[in-house]
Subunit: 199 residues, 2 copies
Amino acid sequence: MSRDPLEELLETLRCLPGVGARTSQRMAMHLLERDRQGGRRLADALATAMRDIRRCQRCRNFTADELCRVCSNPQRSDNIVCVVESPADVLAIEAATGFQGRYFVLLGRLSPLDGIGPEELGLDLLERRLGNEPIEELIIATNTTVEGEATAYYLQEMAKRHGVGISRLAQGVPLGGELEHTDRSTLAHAFASRLPLRD
Amino acid sequence: MSRDPLEELLETLRCLPGVGARTSQRMAMHLLERDRQGGRRLADALATAMRDIRRCQRCRNFTADELCRVCSNPQRSDNIVCVVESPADVLAIEAATGFQGRYFVLLGRLSPLDGIGPEELGLDLLERRLGNEPIEELIIATNTTVEGEATAYYLQEMAKRHGVGISRLAQGVPLGGELEHTDRSTLAHAFASRLPLRD
């Protein structure tokens, strides 16, 4: 006998991050009672995405084609490449900034203890791009964690070998944040890196 | 040109209740990066559930068969029927209590202004059951909202006509709750309905 479809749905919804028993139940009831059309569309979208989405050949971001939308866009500049850890970082930068260059998605960060070295992050591919493409600036936008910083250092050395300029996202107090609630190391860094104001 | 599968996934995930742009993105990235197998299984479960799940012929709960698991279980008592508003209420009662009777799921509550009358709630089906089945007690477990109370009153009158006993879930201060944080009307009701303690 096969499993009950409702039980199967309640259980599989829990593979979504942040979804426990209660949320799973709320989601299933909502779709069954009020949005079967949406449920069917979600089933199709999930099946298609899981089957078709793969890595862009050039920047390793998610795409259903050989090249992602950014890499295949002839309007964007080939002279500047932003290196990020994950596809979510690309979405965040696209949504927040007017960046018009290309990306490189590491899909992780250097972490030798977990067996993640330069090859797992596709850094050989990035090195080839630094050699073959007219890249003038590499923006390093890895996270500011220990592994992210180690990865940034590695990228910096690589860019230097190819004579490519390097920049790093500014670090400091977040905009709209209150000093009182800023964590100690961010505050210490921002204080030490204070900038003189011009008249 | 068809839509980008990633964009389609990000958008359709938002048909889930409580899922906005950020959560949708987190869910999509999680499935794509770390749990494609789970994503495929969820797609299948959703498609099956949306296609196969319908109403139980006897109690109107969700099921993939003609009768739901409770109705088709010969071990459960036919003498006692619990009336609830939604399938989620059945799950809650099954999880919390040792109830061994049958259910009737209204899938709503009386709300004449919204065009929801006795027929929309399948109350003709319940009336037939009251006439044909050996029901001795009807437990009214509608919500304690205005519409829920109106529905409860209607059910009460119906049960009386068939000479069937009626009960209603006890109302009062929730267990483990603090008086200080109990809402005023609950506290007033619990106070007025206080029970004498026996030695």
